[in-house]
């Protein structure tokens, strides 16, 4: 059983991509590009010599960060796959209880964590032997990775399952909600006073040390004191901000008991979340149960769960005989079907219109309401001469995320819903792709019209640079990522990360929407727009190659 689960888990293409990213992270850590560093007053940043012990710690932190931010998008969908492939009724018939089934799923998710840790540790050991300082100690490098990553996988995998069992969270909204939840967890570390020495760090901060920042501070504190005279306290940072001007050397030591307790607690929370997921879980629709009953009474969402693919084996699939709308009387014997006298008369405009309609169908009501307000209210403000640059920035940030529900439908849905044969054999195998991209751009223009008007009114014509990036880049990324993976998950994970760094937090390098003055002046949105157009061209070429039989 475990062997079968492992083969199912490890045989998936999305996991291969995930592990490729993990291997690259292993390289970054060992080449000194990425790792733990400290900022100190009156001096350059301090980073650590790449000893085996520090590389192990760095690898554990990097693995934890990747698992927290990207693991959810990789691990979710295991129940959906069982549902789509008709396995759920089979499992039901074996009288497996819901908690046991979900715990089994959690086990397979945990197996992904074990393999992630193994891949990362292996990459770290190999790279340390090339770039590292001192002797390469495989044990010192590997065990921190397993201790840090595997328990976190239990938690992330459990949350992914819980979201998959609740209708409201099973789709794009859940993916956005998780992203913000993960960011919130990470930001909890900033609650520590900067002047606190390791022993004085509050327990709550330690309990929420998901990535290991406080652990790193605790472990390396004395090494930094030895390397930097006068060092009293600092935040541990994890990223690319190190400097070789001041270097500490961490040679290992006993890990604090609180961290092991924290990881055990993470596992316990994961198990508890799994058991909670059994409440809304429904064998025949992976969404529903208690939450569904409550939700039906509230006008929150009329979107059917994307996990609720109905199959012939699904007992809840409606039947012809049970359907009062279907007349049992024979119809069709005397039907005259008008002939088609003009083939190829519809034109691309009709394809575009249909793609627009398809993308706009099936969103929750509150999304339409929000999109309408976002389009109309700022437009009114702009027309009356109101609005400030600050308001424009806030609105652009919002416009850069609100249509995510629509963009997620681009690129992947023909494969996801089995429409590919109809599209590939149609008059517009490439036109369909271009049509959904243009439709995505048009919807962005409509939703963002008000924000764009204020941005131009307050920032002048240069604001159009940001508008260009915001209109073109997201649908393009969605199209390419969706086409190549057959799923919206890669797009959502990449896009939310970019949006968080750029439009939301003002990181000009990722500011594809022209929210920051620096990003706009450097033409960053134009670069993103150009990349977007390039992605569309490559995606169209991919479809063209696929449909070219020569």
């Amino acid at each position: 059983m475990l062997g079968l689960t492992l083969s199912l888990v490890f045989g998936r293409e999305s996991y291969s991509s995930f592990f490729a990213v993990v291997i690259y992270v292993g390289y970054l850590i060992n080449s000194g590009s990425f790792g733990v560093f400290y900022t100190v007053s009156n001096g350059p940043n301090v980073n650590g010599a790449l000893t085996s012990h520090l590389v192990g710690l760095n690898a554990g932190m990097a693995g934890s960060a990747v698992m927290l931010l990207a693991g959810f998008y990789v691990l979710r969908g295991s129940i959906e796959r069982d549902d789509r492939h008709g396995h759920l009724p089979v499992v039901t018939s074996s009288q497996t209880s819901k908690p046991v089934y979900l715990l089994g799923k959690l086990l397979s998710n945990t197996a992904v964590g074990v393999l992630t840790a193994a891949v990362l540790a292996g990459a770290a050991v190999v790279n340390h032997s090339i770039y590292g300082v001192g002797a390469t100690d495989p044990i010192a490098i590997s065990w921190p990775v397993f201790v840090m990553v595997v328990p976190l996988t239990v938690f992330v995998g459990a949350v992914a399952m819980l979201f998959g069992t609740i209708n409201l969270l099973a789709g794009t909204l859940g993916r956005i909600a998780y992203f913000f939840g993960a960011i919130f967890l990470l930001s909890a570390q900033s609650a520590r006073p900067e002047t606190a020495v390791p022993a004085a760090v509050p327990t709550t901060v330690k309990a929420l040390d998901i990535v290991g920042l406080t652990l790193a501070y605790d472990l390396t504190f004395e090494s930094i004191q030895a390397a930097v005279p006068g060092f009293e306290s600092s935040f541990a940072n994890f990223g690319t901000g190190g400097s070789n001007a001041q270097t500490f050397r961490y040679e290992g030591g006993p890990w604090p008991a609180w961290f092991f307790a924290q990881r055990l607690g993470t596992v316990a929370v994961g198990l508890a979340v799994t058991l909670v997921a059994a409440l809304p879980f429904n064998w025949f629709r992976t969404t529903g149960g208690v939450v569904e009953k409550v939700r039906r009474r509230l006008p929150l969402d009329e979107t059917p769960p994307e996990t609720a693919t109905q199959t012939a084996s699904n007992p809840q699939t409606p039947t012809d005989t049970a359907d009062p709308a279907v007349s049992p009387s024979p119809v069709g014997d005397d039907v005259t079907i008008p002939p088609v006298t003009r083939r190829g008369a519809g034109g691309f405009r009709r394809v575009l219109t249909m793609e627009l309609r398809r993308l706009l169908r099936g969103q929750p009501r509150w999304w339409y309401l929000g999109a309408g307000l976002l389009a109309v209210v700022p437009a009114g403000i702009a027309l009356t001469g109101g609005g400030t640059e600050g308001a424009a920035r806030g609105l652009l940030s919002l416009v850069a995320v609100w249509p995510l529900f629509v963009w997620s439908q681009i690129g992947s849905q023909t494969a996801r819903h089995g429409i590919r044969p109809q599209v590939l054999t149609s008059d517009y195998p490439v036109g369909q792709l271009v049509g959904e991209w243009i439709a995505g751009c048009l919807i962005t223009i409509v939703v963002g019209a008000g924000a764009f008007a204020i941005a131009v009114a307050t920032g002048g014509p240069t604001a159009l640079i940001g508008v260009t990036g915001l209109v073109i880049f997201p649908p393009s990324l969605a199209l390419a990522a969706g086409l190549w993976t057959g799923s919206p998950r890669l797009f959502e994970a990449l896009y939310l990360g970019l949006w968080y760094i750029g439009p939301l937090n003002g990181g000009f390098v990722a500011d594809f929407a022209g929210v920051t003055a620096r990003g706009t002046s450097l033409g960053v949105p134009i670069v993103f727009a150009a990349v977007g157009v390039g992605l569309v061209v490559v995606a169209a070429q991919t479809r063209r190659v696929y449909t070219n039989l020569g």
């Binding site: 059917p304 079907i337 190829g344 519809g346 398809r358 169908r361 149609s426």
Partner: protein, 298 residues
């Protein structure tokens, strides 16, 4: 663009067609067929290569070797020629769940290059044909398997296809609906090539002008339905035997059907001579001919 002279009534020509999936693994190999207007049944056991052949005919997947010609035009060089007049119901047919039936058909009509006027008129009529007019405004994720299959048949007929390829069109339909659908497909076959794949040989017998039998990716036979049935005429027997005799007969002859009775088993089989003294000769069916063909090949 290469083309070839086509026979007067042979619109679809398949020349030595093969599809290789990996080293040593062929989906189909060396298939040569010439098909004119009419219904052409495609039968064979699971994994025989029926769907692979259909995917190549519909330009979904390119052949590894050989060629397909439509009215003399090589399809691999001009796939658009076939796509513009193709109707296709794939085996794993599915739909966008959030669209209503009518919206979905309008979507397919746009992809098939129909103008809105023609699309509306044909959707109206096809909804009648497949008996789904009353549910045209319902979302497709509320449809049963049978209703979805009928929606699939409607979308395949939307553009008045000259080449209609339907892979297991009667799967999921109740018996009454199955008969209605196969008759509807047969009725639409005037002046067009209809390729109809199914496991239900009776559906082929009722509708098809010719039958193509595939096994293990190889073409076993391609013949007019009547002539294939005639090939076993006089060789089909029914008799009542004991369970142990049935096992013996099964080792010698293709068993077409068995029915358990209180005093034995009624068995229908294909044999050159009466298998038992009380065996009665009965009228042959396509299923008898099909089983005989497949058994002989093995």
């Amino acid at each position: 663009m290469s083309s070839r002279h086509s026979g007067a009534h042979m619109r679809l020509e398949i020349e030595s067609l093969g599809k290789q999936y990996s080293e040593g693994l062929w989906g189909v190999r060396d298939i040569t067929l010439r098909l004119g207007a009419g219904v052409h049944g495609l039968v064979g056991p699971n994994g025989a290569g029926k769907s692979t052949l259909m995917r190549m005919l519909t330009t979904v997947t390119p052949p590894t070797e050989g060629a397909i010609y439509w009215d003399g035009t090589r399809v691999s060089e001009s796939p658009g020629v076939v796509r513009s007049l193709l109707g296709y119901l794939p085996q794993d047919f599915d739909t966008y769940p959030t669209l209503t039936l009518e919206e979905y058909l309008e979507y397919v009509a746009a992809l098939r290059g129909l103008d809105s006027e023609t699309a509306s008129a044909r959707i109206e009529a096809l909804l009648d044909l497949v008996n789904l007019t009353d549910v045209r405004d319902r979302r497709l994720d509320t449809f049963s398997g049978g209703m979805r299959q009928r929606a699939g048949i409607a979308q395949a007929l939307l553009n008045d296809p000259e080449l209609l390829v339907v892979d297991e069109p009667t799967v999921g339909l109740d018996p009454e609906e199955r008969v209605r659908m196969r008759n509807a497909l047969a009725d639409t076959a005037d002046d067009r090539v209809v390729i109809f794949s199914t496991h239900v040989v009776a559906d082929i017998e009722a509708t098809a002008d010719t039958v193509t039998v595939l096994e293990d990716g190889q073409l076993l036979t391609h013949a007019p339905t009547e002539s294939l049935i005639k090939s076993v005429d006089g060789d089909v027997y029914e008799c009542r035997v004991s369970q142990s005799t049935l096992e013996q007969l099964g080792q010698e002859f293709p068993i077409c059907n068995t029915v358990q009775r209180a005093d034995g088993v009624d068995v229908r089989l294909v044999a050159e001579d009466p298998p038992t003294t009380d065996a009665e000769q009965v009228t042959a069916s396509l299923e008898d001919a099909y089983l005989q063909t497949v058994t002989h090949a093995n």
